[in-house]
């Protein structure tokens, strides 16, 4: 008998778009077992190859089938220390699930949902893995506590290093903390998962901006770190470069999401940082950041939230699940529109003027290129959130002239090593804005190179 892919229970759309609680509620053991039973336990699992950290997917799914969730957790944990997070935010349809053999004829196994189930089980039941760490008393520094930094820190710690993480903000987790909203990734999960690294003995220091509070040179020469990992992400917002972009009511997604996620502005005045969005909100962009901004605006009480995207629905780069959820939450997609000007009154934005686009030939990304038509449409707005991408923050580069970066500010690496011997980098700071699991994979792999470097350069 063919079993259909299990549907994850969710909060009702018209209830959830007024609250910040998690949308997707997770599987229970019974549903998880049903879903697990769909997996064919392939000899040559295609799914594993497409997971950037190569989790032994059939093995952990088999353990779920056998109701041995602890075992499932240990299997995942070997390759991925943040299963509750990745299960929630990985673009599975492009990675593991996209490759699942079942997907050819019907629907792939819900690998993400199962991984989340296992991760959450481990949190609820406080599963701990006693790891025996043999100290080597060699100091390494990690810059940034996002997924890249954490993954690198944990891998180095397991090898016995003394690992210090320096974070610029007052909370740890990078984009997981300040970017991805609570309704998609509860912050309590982020803290619990990060605490695992603390339990392993990784030292966390907040409020330290490398390049300002301490320079790379000082880390190497005064603090005697034998190697440094840069996992400082891509935090610099891209601007549209349009007339009127600095009017009030126009936010970069980073500001808008940081106000809500990091500073808890949705709880104003309980939390003292405010946010103001109004009734008609335009979101510019079509990625995860745009979906998060749109759905956050809706939850803050905006009546009409519309996404302005210059291509069509098929080209949206966001995770599929988020697009579906956004549609259910009555986010309006206004496609093939490209903003060209913001019009204001007394410095407050009132309208956004857009050029109507049409699709031309395929471009380098394989999607059809949006072409201008010289026809325009204007929308009334109270605010606008610009979500068209990020690039690496130049603070470290400015303070470290011998650190080579490319023309988009991304750190240039060779086997994860930068132009400065002993200084390595990975995650968004190298690739530009990408994904959580790619950043973790890079952190892990960089740790291996750092270990090699340290071991061969021992005096």
């Amino acid at each position: 008998m063919k079993i259909d892919r299990v549907k994850m229970p969710v909060q009702e759309p018209n209830i959830r778009n007024c609250n910040f609680n998690e949308v997707a509620l997770g599987l229970d053991l019974q549903l998880a077992k049903i879903e697990a039973s769909r997996c064919l336990d392939c000899k040559n699992p295609r799914c594993v190859k497409e997971c950037p950290v190569n989790i032994d997917i059939p093995a952990f799914i088999k353990s779920i089938k056998e109701e041995n969730i602890e075992e499932a957790y240990f299997t995942i944990y070997k390759s991925n220390i943040l299963p509750s997070i990745c299960g929630r935010v990985c673009p599975q349809e492009k990675q593991c699930e996209g490759a699942c053999i079942l997907g050819i004829k019907s629907e792939p196994v819900s690998i993400g949902a199962l991984e989340r189930f296992v991760g959450d089980y481990a949190i609820t039941n406080n599963l701990k893995i006693e790891e025996c760490i043999i100290e080597n008393n060699i100091k390494v520094a990690i810059v940034g506590s996002g997924p890249a930094g954490i993954a690198c820190a944990v891998s180095l710690r397991r090898l016995g290093y003394t690992v210090d993480i320096y974070e610029a903000l007052h909370e740890f987790g990078g984009v997981l903390q300040y970017g991805i909203p609570e309704f998609r990734l509860p912050k309590s999960i982020v803290s619990t998962e990060i605490n695992k690294a603390k339990t392993m003995g990784v030292n966390f220091f907040k409020n330290i901006i490398i390049g300002k509070s301490i320079t790379i040179n000082q880390l190497l020469n005064e603090y005697n770190y034998k190697s440094i990992f840069l996992g400082n992400g891509a935090g610099l917002p891209k601007s549209l470069g349009l007339k009127g972009e600095n009017l009030t009511g126009i936010y970069f997604a980073n500001e808008f999401l940081t106000r809500v996620n990091l500073m808890k502005a949705n709880q104003f005045p309980e939390a003292p940082t405010p946010v103001r969005i109004g009734q008609n909100v335009a979101i510019v962009g079509g990625g995860n950041v745009a979906m998060d901004a749109a759905r956050t605006a809706k939850r803050l009480g905006a009546k009409n939230v519309f996404v302005l995207y210059r291509r069509d629905m098929n080209a949206l780069p966001a995770r599929l699940e988020e697009v579906h959820h956004a549609i259910e939450e009555e986010i309006d997609f206004r496609l093939l529109l490209n903003p060209v000007e913001f019009i204001g009154e007394n410095y407050q934005v009132k309208q956004v003027k857009c050029e109507i686009m049409e699709l031309g030939e395929k471009d380098a990304s394989g999607r059809r290129r949006p072409m201008p038509t010289n026809k325009f449409k204007t929308f009334d707005i109270d605010s606008c959130v610009i979500s068209i991408g990020q690039s690496p923050n130049p603070i470290i580069k400015k303070a470290t002239p011998n650190l080579e970066v490319d023309n988009r500010g991304r750190v240039i690496v060779n086997d994860y090593q930068t132009s400065i011997p002993g200084v390595f980098a990975g995650g968004d700071v190298v690739t530009g804005a990408a994904t959580v699991i790619l950043a973790m994979g890079a952190g892990k792999d960089a740790a291996i190179q750092m270990d090699k470097y340290i071991q061969t350069n021992k005096d």
Binding site: A168, L169, H170, K206, N207, I208, I209, K212, S213, I214, T215, G235, L236, P237, S239, E245, N246, L247, T248, G249, Y251, F252, N254, E255, T258, R259, M263, K264, F268, P269, E270, A271, P272, T273, P274, R276, N346, Y347, Q348, N393, P394, I395
Partner: protein, 272 residues
Amino acid sequence: MYKIKKKQILNKDVELMIVEAPMVAKNAKPGNFLIVRVDDKGERIPLTIVETNGVDVTIIYQKLGYSTTLLSKKEVGDSLCDVVGPLGQPTHIRDDAKRILGIAGGVGAAPLFPQLKEYARLGKTVDLVIGGRTKEHLILVDKYKEFCENIYYATDDGSYGTKGFVTQVAESLYQKNKYDLSIAIGPLIMMKNCVLLNKKYKIKTDVSLNPIMIDGTGMCGNCRVTINGETKFACVDGPDFPAEGIDFEELMARQNYYKKEEKHICKLKLEK
């Protein structure tokens, strides 16, 4: 934790604190600022680093709204939840300037202090015009006296020095003395008027901007200002800028964007 080592009431609105923050103090230069979060629910508020001794930092704040009032409730021995810095670019020293007029409005005397002191240390002649609502609102005067050649005063009510605005005093000085540079720090409207005046006398003006900030590292874009048609992030490109091309009107609108919410939270949480 960032321990408060000293606290001094400068007047009924303005206070000074010395806070232990070695990681902020380590690389701090004149012109840098820091960001404070008073408690673990707190807002991130930017304040100038007025002085350091390598371990501690001195801040001077005006009790303006909710977060600065919360800060002022902390006493010696208490700790602040978060202090991060040094942020921003250090003061850009103009080597060619020989005689400099500092213009301070209200609590602007705090951010102006490290800059003028640095110019004095480099052997420049510095004069100061300092203004406030009343005599009581003229802060740091004794500390300025240590390195300023001349100090001139203006108060709104005439309780000390000239009755009126700092710009009036500056204009009378321009008629007597030759200045190469003026550094004006205070409310936006004061800085705007200083630039207009200085343009008339062909004197360059540097200002320090105080837009609303969150991270202070160039991440959020909240602090953007338009200068000569170009967007700058005050937290990383500034906060000091040559003033001539700044769109002050836009900046004032941006600074006032949350006025309603700020009033609301003060009413709700402070007037109990």
